[in-house]
Amino acid sequence: MAKTTETVDKGAEARNAPGADAPVPVLERAPLRGEISRRGFFGVLGAAWATFTAAVVGGTLTMGRFMFPNVLYEPPQEFKAGFPDEFVVDNVDTRYKASHGVWIIRESTGFYVLSTVCTHLGCTPNWLASDEKFKCPCHGSGFVKTGINVEGPAPRPLERYKVTFAEDGQLLIDKNTKFQEEKGQWTMEGAYLPYNG
């Protein structure tokens, strides 16, 4: 009975032979220069792709950084505007509007300097003395004498520039430093220059 139910396993001999289920056969000669084993191939391929990707990404980022200059050839942003007594009290002075893009306003207690850049989209408003407001010709933004926006599409007040006294007593206007009212910066040092002369 045992013989008829015995199945013939033809592959048993090959499978059970010693060394038949051993891993990748070992080379019996020295590897050729640059030769990669089958197992090592995916490691090398992965490393190659990673290097290529890093090179492409690095190159693209470098090109992007190239587009942002470190030095700007722009006119100097700091200038002297004259002696304080040259300015009339409660007056909006437009002498530097075209050349430097500032209005200089003298109050009885001091000075402040407004930027002529409309906070809507960057056009130059005009000071209308009869209406006591700045009005932008592009889209109709309106600002009162202090620079606060009161009408039109301007979302925030005009910006102020830093104003101090130079060593010779003239007003020194620094356009590199700006003060924005909506951030509460008009109370900061430099936004207002006290002068009682």
Binding site: P69, L72, Y73, E74, L121, G122, C123
Partner: protein, 258 residues
């Protein structure tokens, strides 16, 4: 006469130029297109519906023609125009007053207007004929990108005359760019990208600064816009047009049935 022609077309010089036979055979007709680097982007044969104006409006072809007009007139303008704030305006005036023909700049401008119009009409026609449906959706998208490139070419070219219209249009346009989310320093989200008060996106490194190469519209801006207008965007447009025309063929030919 035929003998002269036979002699000429048999010379080595002729054969070096034309790598196909001269007699009018179907094979030679095919080879005349296929063996030509410029012509072989087009198919050798088109369906009759492909040349029906009432079907195609020919707006795509007109757009490409106007692009070529722009390239040639633009190239000619480049011989007289210097892209600096100091010289740009007077060079444009000189192109009208001192340079022969006198209307080269105007032709360039008119072709630009016409190209924008023809691009929109082409888009409209493709929509009306349903030529965006599968398998043509990819080509529709390529076309939309080409539309954006056309409008960008108009935007960058607008600054180059450096007149009041140009300076303020670009001032307003780039000021809109600074309000872009995340990449514009006055846009929503820019304030979030900061560590301990140190803003990473500010007036000196946002997208507006990259566009202008500075803090306001000045010399750096005009040079950048000039390079983008003459080289950057035309190269992008040329590459995308090659893809666009190729896909028309691959997807079944112009004015072919769905």
């Amino acid at each position: 006469m035929d003998k002269i022609l036979a002699y000429i077309t048999g010379t080595q010089l002729w054969k070096a130029f034309f790598r196909h036979g001269y007699p009018d055979t179907p094979r030679n007709r095919t080879l005349a297109v296929l063996s030509n680097v410029v012509l072989h982007l087009h198919p050798v044969k088109v369906r009759r519906s492909g040349i029906r104006l009432s079907y195609t409006w020919c707006m795509g072809g007109l757009t490409f023609f106007l692009f070529l007009v722009e390239t040639i007139t633009g190239l000619l303008l480049m011989f007289y125009y210097r892209p600096t704030a100091e010289l740009a305006y007077q060079d444009i005036v000189a192109l009208r007053e001192h340079v022969p023909i006198g209307v080269m700049r105007e032709v360039h401008r008119w072709a630009a207007h016409l190209m924008v119009i023809s691009v929109w009409l082409h888009m409209y026609r493709v929509f009306l004929t349903g030529s965006y449906k599968p398998p043509r959706e990819f080509n529709w998208n390529v076309g939309v990108i080409l539309l954006v490139v056309t409008l960008l070419l108009s935007f960058t070219g607008y600054l180059l005359p450096w007149d009041q219209l140009a300076v303020w249009a670009i001032t307003v346009g780039t000021n809109m760019a600074r309000a872009t989310p995340f990449i514009g320093h006055e846009g929503p989200g820019a304030a979030l990208i900061s560590i301990g008060g140190l803003d990473f996106i500010h007036a000196g490194d946002d997208v507006r600064f990259g566009l202008l190469g500075g803090r306001f519209v000045g010399d750096a801006a005009i040079l950048r816009f000039y390079v983008l207008h003459c080289l950057g965007f035309p190269l992008v447009a040329a590459g995308l047009m090659a893809v666009h025309f190729w896909r028309v063929r691959k997807d079944g030919g112009i004015s072919g049935p769905l």
